[in-house]
Point group: C2
Chain length 314, copies 2
């Protein structure tokens, strides 16, 4: 397996990304190769400083960077030697099995659109995150968390199917429970999109729909394995939880459960519904977060999620 990592992605690159890559090395099995996209001299310099043989990595010398202020579409095309453009080029040619970056989200999405593209039959790709749960073996995936501010009901239905594949493939949950984020338990509740989506989901044989979940059910003990919503609501709900984590941390009250809110432990956000494994990290990622993102990329590649989605949507 070959995991591509953008060494120039994120506010603290290349220092944090290199330290994250080196930390990941210690946990990755022998047959996993980390492919680093970044300036070769800088990469080798940090390796030397840290007493790591640069040869443990494959290095793709990327001499340009797509900055956060760049126009994503223009920069992706213009900066042919940027880490993101080179990364997607190799992902497209299947020279790497996945690509992870804490760089410009916009450029990452342009990269998807310009190279691997959406899976045929998938109306809209989306991004997803896990909402913290008490039980160690309980995972609840929330999607979309920001790509699609407005969604059609049939798109929510596809998110349900994609989310169920993700949870089944990654955690071995048979027939994952899928719910719709809503403002009441009854079918009649919600905005127009949610009401229509409920109708499409309840008799859908592609996944195991268990009804609506409300805001207070998302965290801790969610009755579902997959919760679908539009990217507007999903993004706000996710950021509210992140904001609360910071408040809890500030108050000195973190514990094992609240640490699950910490993005450093979460890794990044998978882009789902596209022809490849793509993970977008938090812009403020430190070495710990980069390492978590690399480990997550490995897990998502191993779980063959995009391939299973492609099979289902054939």
């Amino acid at each position: 397996m070959r995991i591509g990592l953008d060494i120039m992605g994120g506010d603290f690159a290349p220092e944090a990304t290199m330290m994250g890559a080196i930390a990941a090395l210690k946990e990755l099995p022998q047959d996993v190769k980390l492919v680093l996209f970044g300036p070769q001299d800088k990469i080798e310099e940090i390796c030397q400083r840290e007493g790591v043989d640069p040869k443990v990595f494959d290095i793709v010398n990327a001499t340009e960077v797509i900055e956060m202020g760049d126009h994503p579409v223009k920069a992706f095309a213009a900066k042919q030697n940027s880490s993101i453009t080179l990364g997607f080029g190799m992902l497209h040619k299947k020279m790497i099995d996945g690509f992870a970056s804490a760089g410009s989200t916009g450029a990452m999405l342009v990269g998807v659109a310009a190279t691997i593209k959406s899976i045929p039959g998938v109306i809209r790709p989306c991004i997803a995150t896990e909402m913290p749960q008490f039980a160690e073996d309980k995972h609840t995936l929330l999607l979309d968390i920001g790509l699609n501010a407005d969604v059609r009901p049939d798109v929510l239905c596809q998110f349900a199917q994609i989310g169920a594949i993700y949870i089944k493939q990654l955690y071995g949950v048979e027939n994952p429970k899928v719910a719709l984020l809503n403002i009441g338990a009854e079918e009649s509740k919600g905005n127009l999109v949610a009401k229509e989506a409920y109708g499409l989901m309840k008799d859908n044989s592609n996944f195991n729909f268990v009804g609506n979940v409300e805001g207070h059910q998302l965290l801790g003990v969610c009755p579902a394995d997959v919760v679908v919503t539009d990217g507007f609501t999903g993004n706000i709900v996710l950021k509210e939880a992140e904001g609360l984590y910071h408040i809890i941390k500030k108050s000195g009250h973190t514990n094992e459960f609240f640490e699950k809110f910490n993005y450093e432990n979460l890794g990044g956000t998978p882009v789902l519904g596209v022809n490849g494994t793509v993970i977008i990290g938090h812009g403020v990622s430190n070495a710990k977060a980069i390492k978590a993102m690399v480990m997550q990329t490995k897990n998502v590649i191993e779980a063959q999620i995009w391939q299973k989605v492609a099979e289902k949507f054939q």
Copy 2:
């Protein structure tokens, strides 16, 4: 001032409501009369048991109850002697200055529509709540939190105006800062409704628009005094915070700030944009919550919020 209280409203009525009313008596000034809507014999029985002279209250003998399972429209019309129907009757005739109930939300809204109605010019009434803030003198009102799952951009604009009046009247904040709940800081961010609303809000002379706030900015240190959103997002965001309060409490980590999430301390939810003061309490209200709701009703009446909204929308 005369505050109407539904003694039969909520899961623990009439015990919790009566104990709440008795507790409120100790803090209400002499010139405030509590008008209790409920079965006279039961009210007098609890008064006697608690050593309270029933004459301190005005009692309106309501012999019927609108149950949570009742059809709100039908029950409001059919049960003429119910506490909610009698309460709205007296509110409409201005025989009470406000009406508070922890009973059926549906019946309360039917009561509004059947009696006092929306303020002319207000497209849609809404409900609001304060999001917990660190500073004691900082108040951030979120609206709508559930009445309008789908909103038009011009309706969000009206929520902004109504929310600003609420904060100014209740807390004396001059020129309250109004923000739009969104998924990014820029004007171009958001779903179709939010983008359109931003355009309507940014040059609006009726309130002081300060731009977008994101999910993580809602709690603790919100940069705005008023945050507007659709009732779908608002309801989910509010319930998520409530859910987290329960998780924090369970973990034994509550403190002064987190206690602000506790509905018992919050009182109820004002219905805004209607011709009168109406407060809806949480169905699970205990005596402490009922007392808080009564005190809040007093404050909202004193602040003359609905009258100021009516003036502005003339």
